[in-house]
């Protein structure tokens, strides 16, 4: 096993190009990517982004400007196919670039988190012309996507959803209500799962569509969440017109499209935790917190810190080893499900640890850097056990699809 990929970018001069791009536009961060206690944004531990709408708008503009420049410099999608605006390089190059980028103060790209989730879906299921337009946009920052799956009456049992799409000539008319839709308040497109065959119940009657979120009939109402902010929404779809060319996959293939999307999303959630959990997943911030509280010699704190960091490391190794085994032909079903479960377990472990460490400092703000800010982590953590398939449902999927245990009894229909 090779344990390094430092040289991947340097071979073709890309490293220099990347560095000069970054140096031209962005300040090198004082801390060079490493955490220095008391410096920078201590709120970076928040699990969900939920600033006030005006701040968010302004941040989005900045993030977009950077993203466009990065894409236009050929650095926006290093491991993407050339015909779609990617650079055709390896995943390792992409990781190396991300590491370089982390040394600079670059705007958060959390607005665009579905880029790598929706792209493979569009390339596989969408009309090629539609895919071409949007894939490029997803990486250039022109297009932001969201997932319109869940409904008030259909969460874990997604196949029971009732949002209807009815064909009228070559246009579909969509009516229904979606809920818990992350990022819908600034999204440009939504991948919507709708019932197209009213006679067929369950999975077979579903079809996926790419909905323009800016068109009439789409109404987005932010929901306030546990953390006090709002990053998800209700979405009302009333007589929304979707051209048939925006159908994603065949009629009746919607269940498959949604399952594939969730699969990629789960892996992305598991892998992308370093950023989603805002630097929590490498444990560095927890180590710094322990030091700042002067608890580095407390035997119980040492044991628990080790336990949490071990769990983070194990998650990373699990990801590396399962993907190596997958490349070598081993069982592929498990790894996204394991990634999601590992993440929610690990965040719970970290949340309990932080809660115990901070005690009263978490209950009320003393003004001390890096303490009360953890409330956004601790309060956000329960959501991770619900989104993209609840822990219970993911357990069922692993039990049945991976271990081959007997299925739960289903209601007779």
């Amino acid at each position: 096993m090779k344990v390094d990929d430092e040289r991947v970018l340097s071979d073709d001069g890309l490293e220099n190009r990347a560095l000069s791009f970054l140096a031209d536009r962005r300040r090198r961060s004082r801390t060079q990517g490493a955490l220095v206690w008391g410096e920078g944004d201590d709120g970076a531990v928040a699990i969900w982004d939920d600033p006030d709408p005006d701040v968010e708008r302004a941040e989005l503009d900045v993030a977009r400007t950077y993203r466009r420049a990065r894409f236009d410099a050929g650095l926006g999608w290093l491991d993407g196919p050339v015909e779609h605006g990617g650079a055709g390089l390896s995943a390792a190059s992409q990781r190396r670039f991300a590491a370089l980028e982390a040394q600079f103060d670059t705007p958060s790209q959390a607005f665009f988190k579905l880029d790598r989730v929706l792209t493979p879906i569009l390339l596989r299921y969408a009309d090629p012309e539609i895919a071409r337009q949007h894939v490029r946009g997803l990486f250039r920052g022109d297009v932001i996507g969201c997932e319109l799956f869940s409904e008030p009456g259909a969460g874990s049992d997604l196949a029971s959803l009732t949002t209807k799409a009815v064909l009228d000539g070559d246009t579909w008319i969509v009516d229904g209500q979606k809920v818990w839709t992350s990022d819908a308040h600034y999204a440009d497109i939504g991948l919507a799962l709708c019932r197209t065959e009213s006679q067929v119940s369950g999975r077979k009657g579903l079809t996926a569509f790419l909905v323009d979120m800016r068109q009439p009939g789409v109404e987005v109402r932010p929901l306030r969440q546990i953390t006090g902010g709002s990053s998800f929404n209700e979405v009302f779809l009333t007589g929304v017109r979707v051209p048939d060319s925006h159908r994603i996959g065949a009629r009746g293939q919607g269940w498959e499209v949604a399952q594939e999307t969730l699969k990629i999303e789960r892996t992305a959630i598991g892998v992308g935790m370093g950023r989603g959990g805002a630097g929590v997943a490498n444990g560095e911030r927890l180590v710094a917190l322990v030091r700042s509280l002067g608890l580095e010699n407390d035997p119980i704190v040492r044991q628990r810190l080790a336990e949490v960091v071990m769990a983070f490391r194990a998650a990373k190794h699990l990801q590396h080893v399962t993907s190596a085994r997958r490349r070598a032909g081993d069982n592929p079903t498990a790894s996204p499900l394991l990634a999601k479960l590992t993440l929610s377990n690990n965040l719970r472990l970290a949340s309990r640890f932080v809660t115990d460490l901070l005690g009263p400092r978490l209950a009320a703000d003393t003004g001390e850097w890096g303490t009360f800010a953890w409330n956004q982590f601790v309060l956000g953590e329960p959501g991770m056990h619900i989104m993209a398939g609840t822990d219970e449902v993911v357990h069922n999927m692993i039990g049945e699809q991976v271990l081959g245990l007997p299925r739960e009894p289903r209601p007779q229909s």
Partner: protein
Amino acid sequence: MTTTTADYTWPSELAELRDVVAAFRERHAGEAAVRTLAETTTPLDSRTWQIMAEQLGLAGLTVPEELGGAGAGYEFLAVAMEELGKSLLPSPLLATTALAIGTLMRAGDASARERLVPALAAGQITGTLGYTGADGHWDPARKPQVRATRNGDGWRLDGTVHHVLDGASADLVLVVADTDEGSSVFAAEGPLPGLVRSPMATLDGTRSQARLDFHDVPATAVGVLGAAAPTVEAVLTRAAVLLAAEQVGGAQYCLDTAVTYAGTRTQFGRAIGSYQAIKHKCVDMYLEIESARAAVYYAASCLTVNSADAEPAASIAKTLASAAFDRASADSIQIHGGIGFTWEHPAHLYFRRAISTRALFGDPRRHHEVVAASLLDRTTRSDASTSPPESRRVQ
């Protein structure tokens, strides 16, 4: 803090070795054979050991080619250990490879290495290392329990070590003893009047431990006098990873039997595996096993390339594997219900193995502390970064 951007590959030879060892296990390491060996505490018969060492080449997997081994990376020995861990065959493999060969390869004594390693690698002799006192803890910083005194050109050993793996049967007994220069490694070979080997009663009958009393026993010094501590530490690191691999195999066996049983046993008109309380238990076992397995292979690859991250990686692997085996062996009993609590059913054998290996080569508390120290105490370890890799991988 070390972060890795490992680009793993999973060589196809790993899968091939796994298949070969699995075939051996099915043929020679069935439950009946294991029970017979465990209940009589006789060592593995020499023919079966010859198959393991000679035909499968397991004893010499990580030994360099010039010393008669395969020169393979630790991942390979880990795969073999993992596969063997699914059965509980009592064998000299762990003590011989992890302890005896491990010590000789790390002790920096070319002549001892050339004299002893080829015979160990070929399985002609078996070996072990004695270190701990009655409490069973391996603390490389502690003063050894045996005293060595000069006797002309050689040395004489006096004292007692406990919990010596295969201590009653190993041909070569390495032991750490105290000298005026500090703790040092010694080798005791051949017929040894003065060495009394007493098998200890063990909770896990498939893994023998012995108390060794040295009364004026002749021995040769291995490596530089006073330099045993870093050697023991390096050996422990390697032994922890290999044992963790074995634990993963044991846990996997428990999961496999639990899943099979849960799929066939019905109660209240349904297979018990369709109840979430049972299904979710199996999935949690599975998640822990997969995590531990990944940590083992990462740690093994760190050992192969002699990475500075090897020590915490080994501790992570050992802790997670102990936890996974602990849970899997207990939950397997639970899922089997009353039948799982009988002597006839093999579940208790794995439960015993899990309990006893949890404490071997460092319990979770010790390994947590190793990881905590790597995070909180800024120390630099010289041996990891300067010494060359001791094995190369099979290509």
